[in-house]
Amino acid sequence: MSQASVGHEGHAEHEGHADGHGHGSAEHAKYPFLAHHFETPAQQFDSAKLGMWLFLATEVLFFGALFVAYAVLRSRFPEVFSYGSHYLDTVMGGINTCVLILSSLTMALGVYFAQRGKRIALLICLWLTMAGAAGFLVIKYFEYSHKIHENLVWGPGFYIPPHNAIGEAESVALAHAPTPAPAAVAAPLNSAPSAVPMIGAHPTVDASVVKPASMGPLGLGAGVVNHASAVTHDIIPDQLPSAHLEDTKMPPNTHLFFAIYYAMTGLHGFHVIVGMVVIGMLIYRATRGDFGPNYFTPVDLVGLYWHIVDLVWIFLFPLFYLIH
């Protein structure tokens, strides 16, 4: 492998260079940033780079698994995805894509200026990148809060109209009654077998929407189905924050689109936040004047990280926002 990597960059192979001028200590005296177990700055830089790339590989697989979940869900429910996609705001998504691309550009420029030893230019670039990240998050915040207001969320909540759609009292009751938080975890399977096809049904007949006739005697049944509904009925679909509940074309399982949407964009958003933290650290160090043509590895590595965050978004954008 290392034979193959004899660089066009002209790095002597580290096996080779050590006989040439193998005295690490001389190099160490010259380059204070050189750690004791490396022989040359090139070796240190290459190691750091390879380490970062391996880390990026783990990031790719980390996101990759979610992409797999996405692909599986989409292949199972294509109609859910093309339907759900229309609830996402292409304009906001598009703007965000551009914001990330531009912040990637400033980051790449930052690396360039760090390599050239231009401290002020580097700082400007880092601040711009930071601003891009913040801008991205702000837009994302508006998107999320809009969705949540429209009740486009994951899980059972997707089917519960938000508070202001119905009377205050009912809404409170509703929000707490059917799936209180802890029980939502433990209970769903136990409490809802009626939605599972009844025994004896032929396998191809789906009974999930057919309620079994209540088998209980008088006295039972009244409480089973909650009738807080009359209110929701009168609301005009377009003005209803959770318009999807009134949409006759909504396919079953639409909540899954939002589940995977929040999972993936949420994880991505988290990476943006981490990116802001590390860029912040770079800004601190750059202000202190740590970087120059000899030593800019941290800038380079954070740059790689930031680009991979951009790269993930490049895939997320068409996969969620741009489904025909």
Binding site: E15, F38, S47, G155, N253, L267
Partner: protein, 569 residues
């Protein structure tokens, strides 16, 4: 039997007493904040052994409960927590970090001739991640335990009412990152820190094995991390991707889990195989047979391991087509394993075999791995797996490979490098007796489980049919015997620490670089750059009457080096 030994005197560096990595600096802080890979390795080793003890105690409790059908000592719920904890501790806390993080950390840079791993701080960070993960696992006990099985299958794991599920998932997540960073560190170290002369094909096979393992760690573990994240989100927020009552798919969870956990079983075995390659050749004083085949077979196992995960899901509802594909590919992993097994055996041929304690573990490994691996064939075959899946046959299979092979390999490696790590010898006779007890106890415990399983006894069973009792009793007795063996083994180590004979630099006549530095090694590993030669060339050893062992003969060494130089030019 008593071929304990000393090497050529000039390597018995007297300065060892004044400067070695153990005494280099002192005090708690100097250990807690150390960046020295050797110290980190030692800390890992102690932590892993402690976890092994805990996991072993759970195993004994399990076995005791299974002495009789119905209740013996605990209730069904407690039993379920026991085997879950046993499995989770043994897998995530013991066997995955044991060889790469504990032994690998200590040995890899020295074997390679480097001063340290590429990222010492990251290395220490990995260790603390391990500690954090272990603490979370412990905390999960306080939070109510967890009874999901080590596989965390949904929807059981998302609906069970035991309170420790989220803490342990967090723990697994953290442990995953610990493992990732170790792997990352090793790959970079092997790529970038090889000293002059250390070409890829001069690397000892243990390094190849660690390298292959690291590839798996880096590429597979992130998937586990995201999977447990999704489980946590599923439990706390009912997101529904794996939850059938929200339209999700539990089988998808299994795909995710095994995408990691199948490669994970090779994270356990591949480094152990590396250790065995070292042990067999060093203690048989014989050039390893088929170096390149063994080296490449490690890489091949690493690569194949990614595409066979579905063999754990033959009856899980996975489609027939995928079952077929996965079954076919599963067999492919058997080939590199076969290559290794036969090559080790051939290495014994025309060797000069010293039956030292490490060698005894090495031979046990070959014996047990052959059984464990071959029974993998029953499981990889589609129609027999339908019968055997989730029975004790599988339990027996994976104990043969995880405990009988991976863990035995680890203990063997520990015996092999113990003099190097601590600078002390242990009582070899006692160590060999311990090995034999463990070996016998192991086979009594787990061979019966093959019969149990093929007779139809399902695993994870608290209660069982009376006709199975006889097997269970035998198995439990075996487990007690094995425990005695481990206690004896531990006692040997303790005795060695307290009053063991001082170890020479090269007690076994090994040729790889770690035997060139003193025992224990100095802080910087090598005062002068080591000379890299063929680490499997033992022709320069000669019997030393005084030391009752093999030592390196200067003249013979010069001859060998000259010969090699000729061969290479």
């Amino acid at each position: 039997m008593t071929t304990i030994v000393t090497p050529r005197p000039e390597l018995l560096d007297t300065s060892a007493t004044t400067d070695n990595y153990l005494t280099f600096t002192r005090g708690f802080r100097s250990w807690a904040l150390t960046l020295d890979h050797k110290r980190i390795g030692v800390m890992y080793m102690s932590a892993v052994l402690a976890s092994f003890f805990v996991g072993g105690v759970f195993a004994l409790l399990l076995r005791t409960e299974l002495l009789t059908p119905g209740r013996t000592i605990v209730s069904a719920d407690t039993y379920n927590q026991f085997f879950t904890l046993h499995g989770a501790i043994m897998v995530f806390l013991v066997i995955i970090p044991s060889i790469p993080a504990a032994l690998g950390n200590f040995v890899l840079p020295i074997m390679l001739g480097a001063k340290d791993v590429a990222f010492p701080k990251l290395n220490l960070f990995s260790f603390y991640l391990w500690v954090g993960g272990a603490l979370f696992t412990l905390y999960s006990l306080a939070a109510g335990g967890f009874d999901t099985g080590w596989t965390f299958y949904t929807p059981y794991s998302t609906t069970t009412t035991t309170g420790g599920v989220i803490p342990v998932l967090t723990g697994v997540f953290i442990l995953g990152f610990s493992s990732i960073f170790t792997g990352l560190n090793f790959i970079v170290t092997v790529h970038k820190l090889r000293p002059p002369g250390m070409t890829w094909f001069r690397m000892p096979l243990f390094l190849w094995a660690l390298y292959a393992t690291a590839i798996i760690q880096v590429l597979a573990t992130p998937v586990l991390a995201i999977t447990v994240c999704l489980l946590i989100v599923e439990r706390t927020m009912n997101i529904g991707i794996f939850n059938p009552s929200m339209g999700g798919d539990p089988v998808l969870y299994q795909h995710f889990f095994w995408f990691y956990s199948h490669p994970a079983v090779y994270i356990m075995i591949v480094p152990a195989m590396g250790i065995i390659s070292e042990i067999i050749s060093v203690h048989a004083h014989r050039q390893i047979f088929g170096y390149r085949f063994i080296a490449f077979s490690s890489i091949a196992i690493a690569m194949f391991s990614f595409i066979v995960w579905g063999h754990h899901m033959f009856v899980s509802g996975q489609s027939g087509l995928m079952n077929t594909i996965f079954s076919l590919i599963s067999f492919s992993v058997a080939i590199p394993s076969a290559v290794k097994t036969f090559n080790w055996t051939m290495t014994l041929y025309k060797g000069t075999i010293s039956l030292t304690a490490p060698m005894m573990y090495g031979l046990s490994f070959i014996f047990l791995f052959t059984i464990g691996g071959l029974t993998g064939i029953h499981l990889a075959t589609l129609n027999t797996d339908v019968h055997l899946h989730d029975t004790y046959f599988v339990v027996a299979h994976f104990h043969y490979v995880m405990m009988g092979s991976a863990l035995i390999g680890m203990i063997g490696g520990l015996h092999h490098w113990w003099p190097k790590m601590t600078g002390r010898m242990y009582n070899e006779k006692a160590a060999i007796i311990a090995c034999i007890i463990i070996f016998v106890g192991f086979n009594i415990t787990f061979f019966t489980q093959f019969m149990l399983g093929s007779q139809g006894m399902p695993r994870r069973y608290y209660d069982y049919l009376p006709e199975f009792q006889i097997y269970h009793v035998i198995s439990t007795i075996g487990a007690y015997i094995m425990a005695c063996g481990f206690f004896l083994c531990a006692a040997c180590f303790v005795q060695s620490l307290l009053g063991g004979k001082k170890a020479p630099a090269n007690p076994w006549g090994g040729r790889s670089l770690e035997w060139q530095c003193t025992s224990p090694p100095p802080h910087d590993n090598f005062s002068a750059p080591p000379t890299v030669g063929n680490c499997y060339d033992f022709s320069m050893l000669r019997w030393d009457e005084k030391e009752q062992g093999y030592v390196v003969d200067k003249e013979l060494e010069a001859v060998a080096i000259a010969a090699e130089a000729r061969g290479h030019s």
